[in-house]
Amino acid sequence: MSETHKEHPSPTKYVQIAIVLAILTAIEVALYYTEDIVGALAAPLLIVLAVGKFVIVVGWFMHLRYENSLINKFFAGGMILALILFAIVMIERAVGNFI
C-alpha cells in the first residue's frame, strides 16, 4: 500500500530530541526537590513538562507528526474523550453529593 507520509528525521535529530527529553526530565526532578521554593506553581509546571514530553515522544518518536491525519484524529479523539469523561468522574467524586 502506498505509504504517503513525509520523510522521517535522521538519527542525529533523534539524539537531539532525546537530549531535550533528558533535560526536561532533569527539570522535573529538580522541581520536585525545590517544591518548597517554587510553591504552588510546582504541580502545574510538572504537568506542563509531562505534557511536553508526551507530545515530543508521540510526535517525533512515534512519527505521529508525519502520519496520516486519520491516525491523528483517532489518537486525539481517544485522548479528548478520556480527558472529558474522567474529569467529570473525578469532579463528581470529589464534590460528593453536596453540590
Binding site: 530530541i17 514530553k53 512515534m62 491516525i71 483517532f74 481517544g78 478520556a82
Partner: protein
C-alpha cells in the same frame, strides 16, 4: 501488505495493520485513563497508614524513568536503521532497547520489594492498592514489550533478517514501546512527583 492479490481498495492512505494498531493504542488510553482516574480520586482522600511518600526513593525512580526514556531513543534508532535496511545496527539497537526495558523492570521489581518490606503492601490501604495496580499494569506492558523485542531480535537473527513490510514487524513494536514510554512519562509525574 503484500500485493499478492491486487484486490482494489478505496485507499485511506494508511496501511491496514498500522491503522489497526493505532486504534488499539487509542483504546489503551482509556485503560490507563481509568487507572489514573482511580488513582487520583483516592490520592485526594484520607486513608489510614503508610503513604507512598514514606517509602519512595525519588533519585532511584528518576534514574529508572530516565532509562525507560532513553530506551525510546534506542527504539527509534532501531527503526531508523531498518528503514535504511541496516540489519546489523537494527539488531544492536533492538537488543539495547530490550535491555534498557529489562533494567527498568528490574528497577521496578526492586522498588516493589523495597516497598513491601517497608510495610507498603498491596492491601495496606487504598493508596497502596491503586499504586500497585497502576504501576503494575504499566510494568506488565513493559514486560510484554521486552518479550516482543527479544522475539523480534531472535527473528532478526534469521537469514532473511527483518523487514518493515511483513510479519508482526518492528514498526508496531516500536509504536507500542513508545506508547508504554509516554504512559510512564505521565505516571512518573502523577504518581511520584506531584
Amino acid at each position: 501488505m503484500s500485493d499478492a492479490h491486487a484486490y482494489p481498495h478505496e485507499p485511506t492512505g494508511v496501511e491496514t495493520r498500522k491503522l489497526g494498531f493505532w486504534i488499539f493504542l487509542s483504546t489503551e488510553i482509556l485503560f490507563f485513563g481509568t487507572l489514573i482516574t482511580t488513582f487520583l480520586i483516592f490520592k485526594g482522600r484520607d486513608f489510614p497508614g503508610i503513604k507512598l511518600t514514606d517509602v519512595y526513593d525519588i533519585p532511584f525512580t528518576s534514574v529508572s524513568s530516565f532509562v525507560l526514556l532513553m530506551s525510546s531513543l534506542t527504539m527509534v534508532l532501531a527503526h531508523n536503521a531498518l528503514e535504511t535496511n541496516d540489519q546489523e545496527k537494527t539488531r544492536v539497537w533492538l537488543l539495547a532497547t530490550a535491555m534498557l526495558g529489562a533494567v527498568f523492570l528490574a528497577g521496578q521489581i526492586y522498588e516493589f520489594t523495597e516497598f513491601y518490606h517497608k510495610g507498603f503492601e498491596l492491601s495496606t490501604n487504598i493508596f497502596s492498592s491503586t499504586f500497585y495496580v497502576l504501576t503494575g499494569f504499566h510494568g506488565l506492558h513493559v514486560f510484554i514489550g521486552v518479550v516482543l523485542l527479544l522475539a523480534l531480535w531472535g527473528v532478526g537473527q534469521r537469514q532473511r533478517g527483518l523487514s518493515l513490510n511483513e510479519g508482526m514487524n518492528l514498526e508496531f513494536i516500536a509504536l507500542y514501546w513508545h506508547f508504554v514510554d509516554i504512559v510512564w512519562i505521565v505516571l512518573f509525574t502523577v504518581v511520584y512527583l506531584i
